[in-house]
Amino acid sequence: MNKWSDNRAWWLVLPVVLIVAFSAVIPLMTVVNYAFQDTFGNNEFYWAGIEWFQEVLRSDRFHGALGRQFLFSFIILSIEIPLGIAIALAMPKKGLWVPFCLILMALPLLIPWNVVGTIWQIFGRIDIGLLGAALDGLGIEYNYTQNTIDAWVTLIVMDVWHWTSLVVLLCYAGLQSIPDAYYQAARIDGASKWATFRFIQLPKMNRVLLIAVLLRFMDSFMIYTEPFVVTGGGPGNATTFLSIDLVQMAIGQFDLGPAAAMSLVYFLIILLFSWVFFTVMSYLDRAES
């Protein structure tokens, strides 16, 4: 078949271009504007070059926040992914309990971020919170507003509580797509439970797992609301993650130049990781076929 080109087709893309420009490109360019210039009000701008980038990238404050951010994402991923798989494996495959379990799993996902934060902020208080009071009653010293470890544990448990369901639901969908014949074949071949998991269930789940890892990485890397509500970044700056730090810099101190530069670096890091994940995913797809 002969294909002919008609450049007028580009006009069909125009509405999308306009919407994306209005909602994404122009706001982003404003940030770029601030990142490379200095301003003292009155809409007067002075060229600053890469000064803000140098300042941000060399600052201990940024390194600290970045380190805490990676540590946080790493910890919650290494808890939520195995735990999610384990729960998905334990869930019933058919029967009356399936909808019950699914609804139970979906509940935490339906609660708004700031409400989750508030729930845990109160839950963990020693004076009126069930968790805090219970721990206190047992004689365990726990105070997330003053103790760094307690603050981290609280945030991690909260994130696990909030988001493990997502991993569970994705894995469960992956498991449900495995035909019964595979399990039957595994039994005939005398495969152990572990071998069945390793050679049937895990390979069939690997794509949903990559999506789960990607989503949980991006979300946890951008986490803001819950730690802001629970710890406000404290004690000190022990739980000041990148986005909390960024908001403090931009809105608290009004350092628009460094904040804009930091935004761009932050954006590029997420973009880089998403690209790596995408490449790995499509590589695995190719390897499989």
């Binding site: 014949a181 039957q184 039994r187 071949d189 495969a191 071998a195 076929s289």
Partner: protein
């Protein structure tokens, strides 16, 4: 290899059984000989997969027991029954190579590495897959995957039986024939007991020594392909086997003849043992009917003639009854004044759909 005995086997999927119709598989007693190739043939929902699942141990029968070589296995789990099964859709372990797939059942049973290697190579040679041993199993074609499924059963030298659940469903037509003859070859060489479930009569008739025809949860006939063709024990077998199926028309008996719409059909068998009050039918295969201008047969009107290449199928009408008649390619179908000629040795009489046999 093992002899399979089914003693009073019946199964219902319902928790509370009230009437015979609640049984997906009605009571059956059979002995399948060691080294035999059996095909379970029947339409969807006739109970053939239920029966296969009972043999493989996936289902526990409601009644009865199942024995492999005289040993009761009814309560044994699939993994302890020592069977192999090939499924409708290819089951391979995607992340493993062909070699590892074939070695998997042996490694799970703790067989030594050198013995595993020997068996795997032997089976790969048998299946003509030596060249792809190092390849990932996921990238292979459907027929190669089915061969791996089969191979995983064959590597265990001591399997009691190999079960096939419509294994050629997803295979290209030209490869179906090839795989089927490979199976037959394997059967001849190693004398495996094989049970093959299918709804395709060609597959069943070419694969099996004995075909077990199932209908509505019951085995209606077990026999060689020839028996099924010549002496169908139930009108269903007559319809289901053969293309086109058997002509079955209502009749009554008058002396030594079956009367169809006032015309006499000579018969040579089944007249001495007719149950009283049963509704009677005659069954004649299209292959044993012919058309002629001469003779004393009843005059019929030709409705249509389909040319199927090697032969033609004429649909003819006798009063209210339609018959299919097989006509050789070179023979002409008389357009007017055609008379129906019946081969009396191949006329079967059915009482309430069951063949009337000589006492």
């Amino acid at each position: 290899m093992a002899k399979i005995e089914l003693n009073g086997l019946a199964h219902s999927y319902m928790p509370h059984i009230q009437e015979p119709q609640d049984f997906a598989l009605k009571e059956l007693n059979h002995v399948w000989e060691d080294g035999g190739a059996y095909a379970l043939l029947g339409p969807s929902g006739c109970g053939k997969t239920t029966l296969l699942n009972i043999i493989s141990g996936l289902l526990k029968p409601t009644h009865g027991e199942i024995l492999f070589d005289g040993e009761a296995v009814t309560n044994k789990a699939t993994e302890d029954r020592n069977i192999a099964q090939v499924f409708q859709f290819p089951v391979v372990y995607d992340t493993m190579t062909v070699y590892d797939n074939l070695a998997f059942p042996l490694r799970n049973r703790g067989v030594s590495a050198s013995e595993v290697d020997g068996r795997v190579r032997e089976i790969a040679e048998l299946l003509e897959m030596e060249d792809s041993l190092k390849r990932k199993a996921s990238g292979l074609t459907a027929d190669a995957k089915q061969k791996i499924s089969l191979g995983r059963g064959l590597v265990r030298a001591d399997v009691s039986a190999i079960l096939f659940d419509e294994p050629l469903t997803v295979i290209d037509p030209h490869l179906k024939w090839q795989l089927r003859s490979q199976l037959k070859h394997l059967h001849k060489r190693f004398n495996y007991t094989m049970v093959y479930v299918t709804h395709d009569q060609t597959e069943a008739l070419t694969f099996a020594d004995k075909v077990v025809v199932m209908y509505d949860g019951a085995v209606v006939q077990m026999g060689t392909p020839e028996e099924l063709f010549e002496r169908p024990k139930h009108t269903f077998v007559g319809y289901f086997i053969g293309s086109p199926g058997m002509n079955v028309v209502p009749c009554h008996i008058d002396g030594k003849q079956a009367m169809v719409a006032g015309h006499a059909f000579a018969m040579e068998q089944g007249l001495s043992n007719i149950p009283a009050g049963a509704s009677l039918e005659v069954g004649i295969r299209p292959e044993f009917l012919s058309l002629s201008r001469e003779g004393s047969g009843p005059t019929v009107s030709i409705q249509k003639v389909e040319d199927l290449g090697r032969f033609k199928v004429a649909s003819v009408r006798l009063e209210d009854h339609e018959f299919k008649v097989m006509v050789n390619e070179e023979d002409e179908v008389p357009t007017d004044g055609a008379r129906l000629v019946v081969d009396p040795t191949h006329v079967n009489l059915y009482a309430n759909s069951h063949l009337v046999e000589e006492a």
